[in-house]
Amino acid sequence: MPVNWNTPGDVRSSLEGAGYLADDRIAQVVFLAAKLDKPILAEGPAGVGKTALALALAEATNRRLVRLQCYEGLDEAKALYEWDYHKQLLRLQSDEGAQWDDLEGDIFSEPFLLERPLLTAIRSEEPVVLLIDEADRVEVETEALLLEILDAFQVTIPELGTITAVTQPIVVLTSNNTRELSEALKRRCLYLHIPYPTIERERAILRARVPDLPEQFAEKIARTVASIRQIPMRKAPSVSETIDWARTLLALGADDLSDEITASTLNVLLKYQTDIERTAKELSLDIDGGAESE
């Protein structure tokens, strides 16, 4: 079931069908990834829709999503495969009189193999979308494990030999840039930097996700958030926080951003007290008058 995209425009509209608004750059890079069979490395601040892109790709292409969530300490046994040693032990015990030769071939075979996400993606009969989420979290040593897979979509299991992918998965790696990924890994990927959306795109996202929001109001919210992101702070508002904010404003019955309502709802958008204070100061808002205790 190959992907039948002929132009980046096709990518764009099929992603839109899955509820993801891609800009021209994203559409172009996804298109290239599909044509060149290369993984996409999506990097950018938290909450701009890197993971959402992979989810939308799975939906748009009607493929199963296989997700590997990375974390510090992730190892081969959790990422690739593991022998089910409990089951192996039971097998040995239940058959005490048996010849070793019979047993050996037996306990290192399919039924005793535990598939982890990477192996699942490679052995899948149907093509999948493989999401390797927050790849910057793993240690450098584990990163090396990914290289063989990204290169040729194959893995080597000593007892079973080399397993090569039957179908070509679409691979998306995401990174929050907490540490720089190795050159070797980057070289194998198409790099997609996803920054905060432009005002136009964020407005479109708002309109799609909060349908009750009037056009004018969405524009105003998008502009205000873009303006707030210019202020240096610990955690700039992400797209999902913009959406939360818009919903809050609607729920409060607002139809325009007055200084008062902005001041009293800043805590929806910003998560650190210092950031709220800083922003209020920059926008000359009075948060003491309007601050609500929760």
């Binding site: 021209d24 172009q28 290369k38 070289r187 790099y191 200084d259």
Partner: protein, 471 residues
């Protein structure tokens, strides 16, 4: 196309962006799947295949505009009467008298991009005074045109047009101000594009590209950085600080093995038919690093000190035990000014106001500062502490205070010194770098982010603290 691509890749490498052979080939292959009718598609394709670090995109965009930018409307010679115009319009309201400002406001408020292009090209014709073969850079021509347009006046007119009768302060006004800034930036970009295009026609792409090269953030000289450069650098610091924090925590407690790992022991035993031959142990936990930072904040170090403080601020967000001391000719603890729930800029202000770091004349006195450190804060340094000192070691011919310094070094687990001065100036004049450097675990020149990154990569803690005798 391939030869232009090769030249473009060369240019990226010249800026300092690492582009491997494989990536260049990927780019060539990817171009076949790119609709070249739209320039931005090509930008996306080349960006995704050649540039893998967000910090490098500004430099990439600059080079891209030179190699694949729009053709200019005019050429170098179409500005032949440019020398006449300035004399003609040098009276009052220079920009306004020829209606350029009015047309700009009109086009920016509701015209098309194409109209803007033509208008800007027209302004270049009239005011840039471009001459074929003249060995000046594009910035000079752009400056001449911008001076005539009068960007401040343009900004004021745009704001007036955008806000109308609306409020002059508050949220709305702020947003309109930003929109006006965006529009003025559009004019600047368009102007650069037009001038660059004309220069390319006059010279070679290669030459124009190297004139217009934008240095990478990691190569910005921190001692002489501009405001915007500093901001870029500060944005790039956080991942580095995190890396440094993990590196310093990485060395495991030696000698001690962790507890028995039952799962892995049984797993391993399967190789021997279930006999527990090789006990497996859990990895010992990583030690929690303690960091002590001593920062020279005297006048000669001002820009650099800001950078160090930013680094410190970022590190303290990662690690619990960080103590910071600032000194000039006296030393004071400033840790609390930069704790995580305080805004960085505010911390700087509080520090310069409240920190007690000037004893006499406000010129660096390392000896006195180290002595004060030892006398007042010796409890801050323990055998688990890593001490990082930032300063140029210019001691104004005062006593080096070596005894106190060596006591600090000896008690610490490791001591690193970062000196922003170029290595060749060390030990010249009043610099006493080598007096201190013998005791340190390493002394590095750190003047750019790239050098800081190299230090972070190398910074490993010694396995065993060498005891030194205090002389």
């Amino acid at each position: 196309m391939i030869s232009t691509l090769a030249e473009f890749v060369d240019e990226l490498r010249a800026v300092g962006i690492p582009v491997s052979m494989v990536e260049a080939i990927d780019a060539a292959e990817a171009i076949e799947y790119t609709d070249l009718g739209e320039r931005e598609n090509l930008r996306a394709t080349l960006g995704a295949t050649l540039v893998k670090n967000p910090r490098h995109y500004p430099a990439f965009d600059r080079a891209f505009d030179v190699y694949f930018g729009l053709e200019p409307i005019g050429d170098v010679t179409s500005s032949s009467h440019g020398t006449l115009q300035p004399a003609d319009g040098s009276g009052a309201g220079a920009g306004g008298s020829d209606g350029l400002l009015d047309s700009l406001v009109e086009v920016l408020m509701g015209g098309s991009g194409d109209q803007l292009r033509r208008l800007v090209a027209n302004a270049v014709d009239r005011y840039a005074g471009m001459q074929p073969g003249r060995p000046v850079g594009g910035r000079y021509y752009a400056y001449r045109v911008l001076r005539r347009i009068d960007t401040e006046e343009l900004m004021a007119r745009l704001i007036a047009a955008l806000i109308g009768d609306g409020p002059v302060d508050g949220l709305d006004a702020r947003i309109e101000h930003e929109r006006a800034e965006e529009l003025v930036q559009q004019v600047r970009d368009q102007l650069e594009q037009e001038i660059t295009g004309r220069l390319i026609a006059d010279r070679s792409r290669k030459q124009v590209a190297s004139n217009r090269r934008l240095p990478l953030v990691e190569d910005v000289d921190l001692m002489h950085a501009t405001r915007t450069e500093i901001e870029d650098v500060e944005r790039a610091i956080r991942p580095l600080a995190r890396k440094l924090a993990t590196r310093l925590g990485q060395r495991r407690r030696h000698g001690a093995k962790g507890r028995l790992d039952v799962r892995r022991t049984i797993r391993r035993s399967l190789g021997h038919g279930g006999v527990l031959l090789e006990p497996q142990f859990k990895r010992p936990r990583k030690s929690k690093p303690e960091i002590v930072i001593l920062c020279d904040v005297s006048g000669s170090m001002a820009t650099f000190a800001r950078f160090t403080m930013q680094l410190t601020y970022a590190i303290s967000a990662e690690l619990a035990k960080v103590r910071v001391f600032a000194f000039i000719d006296g030393l004071d603890e400033v840790t609390d000014y930069f704790s995580t729930n305080i805004d960085f800029g505010q911390g700087l202000i509080t520090m310069s106001r409240d920190a007690d770091i000037v004893r006499r004349d406000g010129h660096s006195d390392y000896g006195r500062s180290f002595t004060e450190m030892w006398d007042r804060y010796s409890d801050a340094v323990t055998s688990r502490s890593t001490v990082i000192i930032t300063g140029d070691a210019r001691n104004n011919y005062r006593d080096a205070g070596l005894e106190a310094f060596e006591r600090i070094v000896n008690r610490s687990k490791a001591t690193f010194w970062l000196n922003p001065e170029p290595r060749r100036f060390w030990d010249t004049g009043d610099s006493v770098m080598s007096t201190y450097s013998e005791s340190c675990d390493s002394v590095d020149q750190v003047r750019t982010l790239r050098q800081l990154e190299a230090f972070v990569e190398r910074a490993t803690l010694p396995v065993m603290r060498r005891r030194r005798l205090v002389s």
